[in-house]
């Protein structure tokens, strides 16, 4: 979190200035820019990208080079060396950045959509209203956007996703997942052994009013928690899942389609075997439903 705050001056200082009221006051139109540059770069180097608006597309490749191309309005600056590279747009641009697959990538934007494809390193992606999409198997992902949707497809070692009102979709075989939204929805489609993964070992999914849906496989011994104030929570797992289930709603309803156990006074606790996963679901007034795949 401290890192986010520290980076804010660099990123959103210019970014928000461009989309806020200050931008409207600028009388002169921003100059048109065309970007086409490349630098030799370490396979595990760090790339920082700031682009207030437009689009940012980051593509991992098997070349030890950072190559950036794009066009837009405003100014573009690049600085750094063979292991750290900073790319900063002031204004708006559609950027395409190719970088080594194992690079660490940090992106900050206000309204630009962020797409990342084929990067295996650590991703730290921030936007205010832009959408964030990641396809691939990065080792660690942090994605935050207020209003945009977030979609991670593929699989990550660890993912932390946060939105205010944007929807979150996590697809693939990830190990450690965390998603939080206030009024958006969370959908998790967790692949497990059938796709070569381990199932979710640790998952925390929470909303205030948004619905939360988990559909997939739980890791053996995994811990999964779903929580919502008023959104509906739906858990759909294979009928053969071995887990301890602990469900509670203060004012909502519980429907158990997984076993014959019946809820009593807003609580339902049962186990489908020993040594399995642990599922905890908490809701204030939303409905909770369990279903067998």
């Amino acid at each position: 979190m401290t890192r986010h705050i520290a980076c804010l001056g660099l990123g959103l200082g210019s970014a928000l200035g461009a989309v806020g009221p200050g931008a409207a006051a600028q009388a002169r139109p921003a100059p048109i820019i065309r970007i086409e540059q490349r630098w030799p770069f370490a396979a595990d180097g760090s790339v920082r990208i700031v682009n207030p608006a437009g689009r940012i597309r980051v593509i991992g490749w098997d070349v030890d080079t950072v190559a950036v191309s794009g066009h837009g309005a405003g100014a573009f600056a690049a600085d750094g060396n063979g292991s750290v590279r900073k790319l900063v747009v002031t204004g708006r641009a559609d950027l395409e950045v190719h970088l080594p697959r194992g690079a660490r990538v940090w992106v900050k934007s206000a309204a630009a959509d962020i797409d990342v494809v084929g990067v295996d390193g650590t991703l730290d992606l921030n936007s205010v209203s832009g959408a964030i999409q990641v396809v691939g198997t990065p080792v660690d992902v942090t994605a935050e956007t207020m209003d945009g949707r977030v979609e991670l497809a593929g699989g990550t070692g660890r993912a932390r996703v946060k939105t205010v009102s944007g929807s979150i979709l996590l697809r693939g075989a990830s190990v450690d997942l965390g998603a939080s939204t206030l009024s958006g929805t969370i959908v998790v489609r967790a692949a497990g052994w059938q796709r070569g993964g381990t199932g979710v070992q640790r998952g925390t999914f929470e909303s205030v009013t948004g619905d939360v849906r988990f559909d997939g496989e739980l890791g053996r011994g995994g811990i999964v928690e779903l929580e919502s104030q008023s959104g509906a929570i739906h858990l759909r797992v294979p009928g053969t899942t071995v887990a301890d289930f602990d469900l509670l709603t203060i004012g909502g309803s519980i429907a158990n389609g997984l076993t014959s156990d019946a809820p009593q006074r807003g609580t339902l606790r049962f186990a489908t075997g020993a040594g399995g996963a642990q599922v905890t679901i908490r809701s204030f007034k939303g409905s909770i439903s369990l279903e067998a795949k």
Partner: protein, 201 residues
């Protein structure tokens, strides 16, 4: 773009968990739908990537190791000063306690017994929210109008949720689960305000 109503079926198609008849239906659909064919190809590509993922979770950092090292170091430097050793151990306990407090999932963080602990937690959240609200008011004009509208809309949602939890707690003050839900809603508010303040400044 895959057909919206096909997502579940396509995933199960790739997983191989569809019945024969359902599979035939999906096959027929795929024959005439390029978007869904692309989605199936993408899902199948996940298999290779997923196999390379780590099989266990390594902790990001070990809090205890450096603390333990400091205690041992202190002990060997002056074994005649048990007071400092005790103080270090107490500090370590506090650090670990705080770390656990921060790291535990929201539903288990605030299981304080009824009394001052819980009152302090409520006060902490309220103070944090008040401070951030004041800070945001100063920077309000730097945000785009659409962002301001989004924040205000969601603050109204979260305030309603907090109000509901608080009313329920007033009726059942000893309910640990209710406290957890109240704390979660309060935490969402603090995080939203912190986020908005960061974006504005």
């Amino acid at each position: 773009m895959m057909c919206a109503d096909m997502e579940v079926q396509l995933n199960e198609y790739v997983d191989g968990t569809l019945r024969v008849a359902q599979r035939a239906t999906v096959d027929a659909h795929l024959a005439g739908c390029a978007g869904c064919r692309a989605a199936v190809a993408e899902l199948r590509a996940l298999v290779a990537g997923a196999a390379a993922l780590p099989k266990s979770i390594e902790p990001g950092r070990d809090l205890w190791a450096p603390i333990d090292a400091r205690i041992v170091q202190g002990a060997t430097r002056n074994v005649q000063r048990p007071f400092w050793r005790g103080a270090l151990a107490a500090a370590a306990t506090l650090v670990i306690g705080f770390a656990i407090y921060r790291l535990l999932p929201p539903s288990t963080v605030h299981d304080h017994p009824e009394g001052t602990g819980w009152v302090a937690v409520q006060a902490e959240y309220e103070q944090a929210a008040d401070e951030l609200t004041r800070a945001l008011a100063f920077e309000h004009d730097r945000l785009a109008p659409a962002t301001v509208a989004l924040i205000e809309r969601n603050l109204a949602i979260i305030d309603a949720a907090i109000r509901e939890s608080r009313d329920a707690l007033a009726r059942d003050p000893g309910n640990v689960e209710l406290r957890g839900l109240f704390a979660a809603a309060s935490r969402h508010k603090v995080e939203l305000l912190r986020w908005a303040t960061r974006a504005a400044t």
